[in-house]
Symmetry: C2
């Protein structure tokens, strides 16, 4: 029985996620289970050449040493590898967890969900009661919340993606909360207002709807965006990566709102040169490119 | 020089936050610094009777044992007490950090800011570049993001507010991210839409504004609220507290959105009896009542 956190049961999940021998197929040889209406199960073996030498040791020791979170999780397989499944939704924050898994060099399955009318399909609630993705299953642990997923995966399988010195570590922990807790919410308001703007109304009402949306934009959205981008520009001007000298999981977490906003009127190269260069450095990483390639193959669309 | 995380300088702050002997005055004997236009500095000595016996030992050992975050922070004072300041804004999420500090039995200063036109005053940006509170200063560490503040304070000064068994600990870590990362954002959208509803427009446009707001309410807000409350009702029906058998920092963090929504149309005793009872259990705690009393004295208003 899975140690589900914090959700009680995922009965459907247990029926078909682990077909025999799915661990042996290599990317880009996808396994499609076309009988499933909303999901596709894909197995990946991450490109071994990019593994850090430390990886095997970490995977072996993770159950007892890397984190006090892992002390009673089901053990990894004989080769010390965890069994990882990422529940993935197109056009969602799950994209950066693909990237994180690529950076970690972990094997993982992708269970693919597609939006219906811009929303996650109702079946998503069978995995997570909130119907929100990403959700990650690691052996018997089921994880949600991007900040927590990042923290867990890095603690257990990628110590090199966590800062060593105290000041950087504090920033790391701060930014794991900041990205979703502070930076994303105004973006969410923007998305909701975009929905209002695009909603079908009689043409003679359109100007008024636009006026209301502009009001929210001027009074709430733009000042908030500016505050966040000013803050991040100042932070990233002080050091090579978000938290210090080294690339960490916090950089991956912050990448989503940055790439979403890049090129939009507020976030231009002219307004925020350091943040722009940093975002380009993020998207230039090999693991990011691999993740994007995989994601685009599933999206059927070009990603940012 | 303060070890500011992640912010570079707070020059104003260093000038006047620590008047001599402020640590000796007892609640409810406030020290008001009326010459400061937006801030008031208040010193509290938390009610000793409610300290856990473990507290003194923890405070002494925190710098080296409780958490790897504290290894190079400035040391606590001779009695092993940290120097804590909470930057507090009326009608804000800072309220629950007062409660957390009361649960921890820590001495703390409150630097009080008041909203101007419903927003944090511009001076707030001198403390935190985002102009968002709560911000907490612990010795030389400056902390923001409620989830991170809670994690830090509990790790360093209140191990008894952290679960002992693994499943509960995983839930704890999950909920530290969930409260701000998932539960608060739809509430924020609600607040913004409330602003739209209340904005001054010619009377003949009012019905249309209301129509748009109702649209967002029906299509986005209510389904989202329902999803979250259903989820939390199910979670809290399974155990005495949010994460397990014991009250933890995660209960404190979740309290804010719950008390804000309690009694509103969606969150009634009838709809969510277990969650309602749980919220009453939270607000019935002695430390919560002390925090509320202090906060109400500053708010000049009754809190929920």
């Amino acid at each position: 029985m899975a140690n589900l956190l914090p959700f009680k049961t995922i009965t459907r999940y247990q029926h078909f996620v682990y077909p025999a021998s799915h661990h042996t197929c290599n990317f880009p040889r996808y396994k499609y289970f076309s009988s499933l209406s909303v999901t596709t199960i894909i197995s990946h073996r991450a490109k071994q050449a990019n593994y850090r030498p430390i990886f095997d040791k970490l995977a072996h020791s993770s159950a007892t040493q890397s984190s006090n979170m892992a002390t009673t999780n089901a053990p990894n397989d004989e080769a010390g590898r965890p069994k990882v499944t990422l529940f993935w939704l197109n056009q969602s924050r799950a994209q950066r967890i693909v990237w994180l898994l690529e950076e970690l060099g972990l094997d993982y399955d992708l269970e693919v969900y597609r939006r219906v009318d811009r929303l996650a399909p109702p079946k998503a609630k069978e995995i997570h009661p909130l119907g929100k993705f990403p959700v990650v299953k690691v052996n018997d642990d089921l994880l949600a919340e991007s900040g927590f997923i990042t923290e867990y995966l890095v603690d257990n399988y990628g110590e090199w993606l966590k800062p060593k010195d105290r000041a950087s570590l504090m920033r790391y922990k701060y930014f794991l909360h900041y990205s979703e807790g502070s930076f994303m919410p105004p973006l969410l308001v923007g998305i909701v207002m975009q929905g209002v703007k695009n909603a079908p109304v009689p043409f003679f009402l359109k100007p008024l709807v636009n006026m209301i949306c502009s009001g929210v934009e001027t009074k709430y959205l733009l000042p908030n965006y500016k505050t966040h981008f000013d803050f991040l520009e100042s932070e990233i001007s002080q050091r090579p990566w978000l938290t210090g000298e080294e690339f960490t999981g916090a950089d991956i977490l912050l990448s989503f709102p940055l790439t979403v906003m890049k090129g939009k009127s507020i976030f231009t190269q002219e307004n925020y040169p350091a943040l722009w260069a940093y975002t380009e450095k993020l998207t230039g990483r090999e693991a990011y490119k691999r993740a994007t390639k995989k994601t685009e193959a599933m999206e059927g669309d070009k990603l940012v």
